[in-house]
Amino acid sequence: MDSLQMISDELRGKIIGIHREHKLPHTGSDLSCLDIMVALYFKVMKDDDYFILSKGHAAHAFYAVMHRKGLIRDDVYSDAFKDGSLLAEHVTYPKNYVKTGSLGHGLPIGFGIALAKKLDNEGGNVYVLLSDGEVGEGSTMEAMMQAQRFGLGNLIAIVDYNGWQAYDRTLVSIKDLHEISKSMNWDVGYIKEGNNPDAVAEALESAGRNGGSKPIMLLSETILGKGLPNEGTLETHYDPPK
C-alpha cells in the first residue's frame, strides 16, 4: 500500500502539471491543503463521516483526491477544466458533495449536517476544511459562535493556515484565531506540520476520537504552494506554475 506521503507527492505532481497546462489559478491554495485531504481520505475518514471543502477554490486538490479514491471517473477527471467540464475551478462535483466557491458557507452548512446527524443519533463526524482568510467572513463567525450551543462534538473544522489570503498576509493571526475559537467554546488543537500527511492524520484521528460535546477546531500550519519552487509566496495563489 502506498504511504500517505507517496499519494501526496503523486497528486501534487498531477495538480502542478494540469495547472501549468491550463494556466489555472489557486495552485498555492490546492497545494497547501492537499495533505490534509490526503490524510482525511486515505487514513482518517470512515464511511459515516462527511467532508465539505469550504475553501472551494482549492477544488482541484479535492478532485485529485476523489479521483485517486475512485470517486471521480477517469474520463471526468481528464476532461477537467476543458470545455464541457463537470469540474469547475470551485467545487461542483461529485454530486453528493456540497458545492462551494463563495467563502464562509462551508462551516454553517456543515453545522446543519452535524446537527441533523446528531438529531438522528447517527455516528460519524462532519469535517469542514476552511482557509485562514475565510475566517474573516461573518457567516463563519456566526457558526463558530453558536456550534457549542448544540453540543456539536461531531463537527470538526480544520483551518488551512498558510498565512496568506488572496491579497495580503492573513489578517487574523493563528494565536488570535486560537483565542477566538477557545472563547467560543471550541476544543482547539494545532497541527504543526500541516504538510506532513502522517502528522495531520495522527492529529485528526486523535481529535476525532475525542468524544466530547464541544466542536473541534484544528489550526493546521501549512505552506502556500507547498512543493513549488516559489512556495510560501503570494504569487502561487493566482499565478499558474511556470
Binding site: 454553517p108 446543519g112 449536517i113 446537527l115 441533523a116 438529531l119
Partner: protein
C-alpha cells in the same frame, strides 16, 4: 398568515411528522405552542439569519424537512447569498418571511418588503409564493409538500381569512394563476393581500360605470404563469396591476402582455425607502393604492 403557518406546522408535528422550524430570534407568541410542545423541533438560531439559512441547508441536504422564519427583509436580503447557495445545492428549504410592502408600517423602511419580489424571483430554482389570505396560505403550505425544491413564502400580518369563492380554492395549484373573478373589459392582475383591493376595484367599476373585470391572483411569482396572464389580456381595453411592491408584478405582467399590445396601468409602491411613516392604510393611500383612487385613475385612462 404566520399564525396560519404556525398552526399548520403544529398540526403536522402533532400528527407525528418530523419537521423543524428555525427562527432568527423572531416570532414571539406565534410559535409559543410549537416551542412548548416540540422543543427539539423549534430552533432559535439567534440573531443570525445567514446561519439560519445555511444550517437549514445542511439539515435539508441530510433529508430533514426545514422551515425558516424571519421578517421579510431579513430573510431575503440579509441572507441572499446563503439562499443562492441553498438553491445551487438543491436543498429544499422553506423560507417564510413576514411583512410584504408596508405591513411593518411604523417600523420604517428597514422592515418594509419593498423590493423582495424581484430579488427572490431572480434566484434560479427558487419557488416564490405570495398568498393573498389565510386560506390560500394554508393551501399553499399543503401543496409545497409535494415540491422537492427550495420555496420562499412572502406573507403579511394584516390579512383576511378568505377573499374569494370557496370553489376556486379547490383548483389552487403552485405556478398557476388563480382566476378569481370573471369579466370582459379589463384584466386586473394582483398578488398578496392587496388582492382584496383588486376585488373591490372590480366590484366598484362594475357597479359605478358598468365595466367588468377579470381578476387574476398571482399567488406564485415564480414560476410565473405568463400564459394565463397573456391569454386573458388579449382583446381587453386595459390591463391593470395592483401590488404592494415597487413594480416587479408590473414588469412581469408587461412582459406577458407584450404581444397583445394592450396598455398596462400599474399601481404599486413608490421606488424609494420612505422617510415618513404612518399606519399602513395611510401609507397605501399616499401611494395611491386605495380602491377609490385606483378606480378614478382607471376611469380617467379609459
Amino acid at each position: 398568515m404566520r399564525k396560519t403557518i404556525a398552526n399548520y406546522l403544529l398540526e403536522r408535528l402533532r400528527g407525528g411528522r418530523e419537521l423543524f422550524l428555525i427562527s432568527g430570534d423572531l416570532g414571539f407568541h406565534n410559535f409559543d405552542e410549537i416551542r412548548r410542545e416540540f422543543p427539539t423541533n423549534f430552533i432559535n438560531i439567534g440573531v443570525a439569519e445567514q446561519l439560519m439559512v445555511s444550517v437549514a441547508t445542511g439539515m435539508a441536504l441530510w433529508g430533514k424537512e426545514i422551515y425558516c422564519y424571519s421578517i421579510l427583509p431579513f430573510i431575503s436580503f440579509r441572507d441572499y447569498e446563503q439562499i443562492r447557495m441553498a438553491c445551487y445545492n438543491k436543498a429544499p428549504i422553506r423560507l417564510i418571511g413576514t411583512g410584504v410592502g408596508y405591513d411593518y408600517d411604523l417600523s420604517g423602511a428597514t422592515h418594509h418588503g419593498l423590493e423582495d419580489a424581484q430579488a427572490m424571483t431572480a434566484i434560479p430554482g427558487l419557488v416564490v409564493l405570495s398568498p393573498c389570505d389565510r386560506k390560500e396560505t394554508r393551501l399553499l403550505m399543503e401543496r409545497i409538500e409535494e415540491i422537492n425544491e427550495p420555496v420562499f413564502i412572502r406573507t403579511s400580518r394584516s390579512c383576511e381569512d378568505m377573499l374569494y369563492d370557496e370553489s376556486a380554492y379547490g383548483q389552487l395549484e403552485v405556478g398557476k394563476a388563480a382566476h378569481i373573478r370573471k369579466g370582459s373589459d379589463i384584466l386586473i392582475v394582483t398578488t398578496g393581500i392587496v388582492t382584496k383591493i383588486a376585488l373591490e376595484v372590480a366590484e366598484m367599476l362594475k357597479s359605478s360605470v358598468g365595466r367588468s373585470c377579470d381578476v387574476l391572483n398571482m399567488h406564485t411569482l415564480k414560476p410565473f404563469d405568463m400564459e394565463t396572464v397573456g391569454g386573458l389580456a388579449k382583446g381587453k381595453k386595459l390591463v391593470v396591476t395592483i401590488e404592494e411592491n415597487n413594480g416587479w408584478l408590473e414588469k412581469l405582467v408587461s412582459t406577458a402582455c407584450n404581444a397583445t399590445g394592450v396598455h398596462v396601468l400599474a399601481f404599486k409602491l413608490p421606488d424609494e425607502y420612505v422617510e415618513v411613516v404612518g399606519k399602513r392604510d395611510w401609507m397605501l393611500e399616499k401611494a395611491g393604492l386605495t380602491t377609490k383612487s385606483i378606480c378614478d385613475r382607471i376611469n380617467r385612462t379609459l
